[in-house]
Symmetry: C2
Subunit: 423 residues, 2 copies
């Protein structure tokens, strides 16, 4: 049997009991004959406590020092985990991101992995050890400074190591049983997905599903590393994310993978934009210069009578103020009438590669929303996704209606605690 | 002006307020024109909390992992300190022991420094930064594993860096005003020492004075680095430890530097040892093989009538059980009568290079103890020290009597809070 990379999030190692429970699970994999490399996040609230300390000493902590601070968290959890494993009679060694060969660029707080040179890790597992690696961190190529990878960093560390070590699978352990057809907090009858393709998972991740982040799935797809998302609390099989189904999974992909929703966005509408070349470019250059990532962009044909059009886009609520200010500064140059800002919106997305070849999906989707009395404000589609923007108040009703309309409801209610995945 | 190394212990950086206070003091040194390298310990109770976590996951944590765990503490304090300094408008960079070039052997938990290659630190201060270095930690020469230096490790880091960087002085900041002529908790009239030679400081440190550890002073003496021990809370001059007095310090050394006491030791007496060659060697080989460090050793001439003698020695109380067990195993071979173990003792030491040339010091010392009604159980002397063992109950009375007899009492009571020095 080959090498397995396992990743445990902060909620799985929140305290000494959690660490001991995780240690047992790791040892099981080793006993089953695998070489095991473990990537671990900081314990529970450690990161928040460190951030709190930083804010007490400085309102604007420098990136280099902030990264040095935060990486202490994984150092603690990984050392404790190695101790707990050794206490079970198995050999374990812990490694920082730098020791594990996670080489990044120098963008502190959201560094990107440039290369992984896992020589020490390979040597450690070849000598019979279980290797424990700090997630979320690396070392910059030129300056040799400690960096952090930003949100979802530990998942990305795990997938990157799995790729560099030619692992059979990257297991992402979290506090939920896998990826669901909808958020189980909203849809009681949501079902756990047994297998989902990289493409559908990418769409779900960009549409508000929080179990796996886009970045980690993208990395896994590029290197074709199967991901198995599962609970560190139960022993159940979770969700496999890969190019092809694994083992006894259904060979044919479901038409629809799931319904995702997102209430973290706001909508900006630029009203009365002269319909001539270059106006949209000016608007979105202003947004880009303010370093704001936008999501959906919608422009309708202009009313022939006025020669004016409206451009709407969505963006994270946290960037709303900055975006409006940036646009106000272009008002004269672009010559638009006014700006509307609306943060009481929700985005509902239906994802499934099957919709490409199944006519009527779009119609069923809109009918479901209509029957539920949900008004649609914006529509945007890709080959394997339809997204709409609705009022925030309507979101739960809308998700349940769509989930039901596509036959995704399970027979019986599942009781699942659904939470964050740490980092 | 040259380069200054400053070391701050855990009590000086116990919380965000402490870190900000220390940052201001560091910036002052920089403003005065010095290049500044700072060595910092873990915040207040961090180390104890990490040890507590380790004990929860494993009764016998492995050294390599335990070191990895503990070094997270300095990572936190050094990053926060760098942020606090930057917040005051000065440039600062933090460095782990490994980044700072602190190369050690591979004895986890009490590694010894083999070499210091402070290239990155020198570069950092030459570029105008204040360099913040994690105390207490290094990286092993061969295996590149993270190591800790054991007790007093941060002081040793500071002195070692000061030596490698050719610093003018190594300032050790702590929560007391300096080295005193006796423990101020015992002797209210104890005086702060303005200057003390390396030799006398070494004797005080081995005799129970806790402000500086023997190891750090020994390192400073070898490389002739003046140490200035002072309070991080007051702005006062502290105690200089060096070969020669500095600046306006008294050129002639006092006859007596101070009185130290130690209640952490126990006494073992091997009763009825046959007075023939090799017996003492067998006894102390057994102790050495058990890796126990002993302190005083006393043997009297044997009683001519019996040909038997008694051998007594002192050792840390924590090693008492192990020592007695090791000796019991040699009983038959050595042929001694019995063992006596006594942990209700105290050691009182008088230290001063001046006693070499001043007759009567020993007599005055014993008279003072006699007048105070203190019985002497063991005596041991060096050229610049006299030590006696007494009952533990007598220790405070004995220290006060000796301190007074040698004219060390100050005119007025000083109110000083006297505590540990962190690590």
């Amino acid at each position: 049997m080959g090498l397995v990379v396992q990743k445990y999030g902060g909620s799985s190692v929140a305290d000494a009991e959690g660490i001991k429970r995780v240690a047992k699970r790791i040892v099981e994999a080793k006993k089953n004959g695998h070489q095991v490399v473990v990537v671990v996040s900081a314990m529970g609230d450690t990161t928040d406590e460190l951030i709190d300390l930083a804010e007490q000493v400085s309102p604007m902590p420098a990136g280099r020092e902030f990264d040095m601070l935060l990486t202490a968290g994984e150092r603690i959890s990984m050392a404790l985990l190695a101790m707990a494993i050794k206490n079970l009679g198995h050999e374990a060694q812990s490694f920082t991101g730098s020791q594990a060969g996670v080489i990044t660029d120098a963008v502190h707080g959201k560094a990107r992995i440039i290369d992984v040179t896992p020589g020490r890790i390979q040597q450690s597992v070849d000598s019979g050890n279980i290797a424990i690696v700090a997630g979320f961190q690396g070392v910059s190529q030129d300056s040799k400074d400690i960096t952090t990878l930003g949100r979802g960093g530990s998942d990305t560390t795990a997938v990157a190591l799995a790729a560099a070590l030619n692992a059979e699978v990257c297991e992402i352990y979290t506090d939920v049983d896998g990826v669901f057809t909808a958020d189980p907090r909203v849809v009681k009858k949501a079902r756990k997905i047994d297998w989902i393709s990289f493409e559908d998972m990418l769409e779900l991740a960009s549409s508000g599903s929080k179990v796996l982040l886009h970045r980690c799935v993208e990395y896994a797809r590029r290197y074709n590393i199967p991901i198995h998302v599962r609970s560190s609390f139960s022993g159940l099989q979770g969700t496999w994310v890969s190019n092809e189904p694994q083992g006894d999974q259904p060979m044919e992909q479901a038409i629809i993978s799931g319904v995702a929703h997102d209430t973290s966005e706001a909508k900006v509408t630029v009203v009365g934009v002269p319909d001539k070349p270059g106006e949209a470019a000016t608007i979105f250059r202003a947004i880009a210069d303010a370093e704001i990532n936008i999501d959906m962009v919608v422009q309708n044909v202009s009313a022939a009578s006025t020669g004016l059009t409206d451009i709407s886009f969505t963006l994270p609520k946290t960037e709303g103020r900055k975006a409006v200010e940036a646009l106000e500064r272009t008002k004269e140059r672009v010559g638009f009438d006014s700006l509307r800002y609306d943060d009481q919106i929700a985005k509902i997305s239906l994802v499934g590669a099957g919709m490409k070849t199944n006519p009527g999906v779009t119609a069923t989707f809109f009918e479901a929303l209509s029957n539920a009395g949900v008004n649609i404000e914006l529509i945007s589609t890709s080959e394997i996704r339809i997204s709409v923007v609705t009022r925030a108040d309507d979101v739960n009703e809308a998700v349940r209606a769509v989930h039901s309309a596509f036959g995704l409801d399970s027979e019986n209610d599942e009781a699942v605690v659904y939470g964050g995945t740490g980092r």
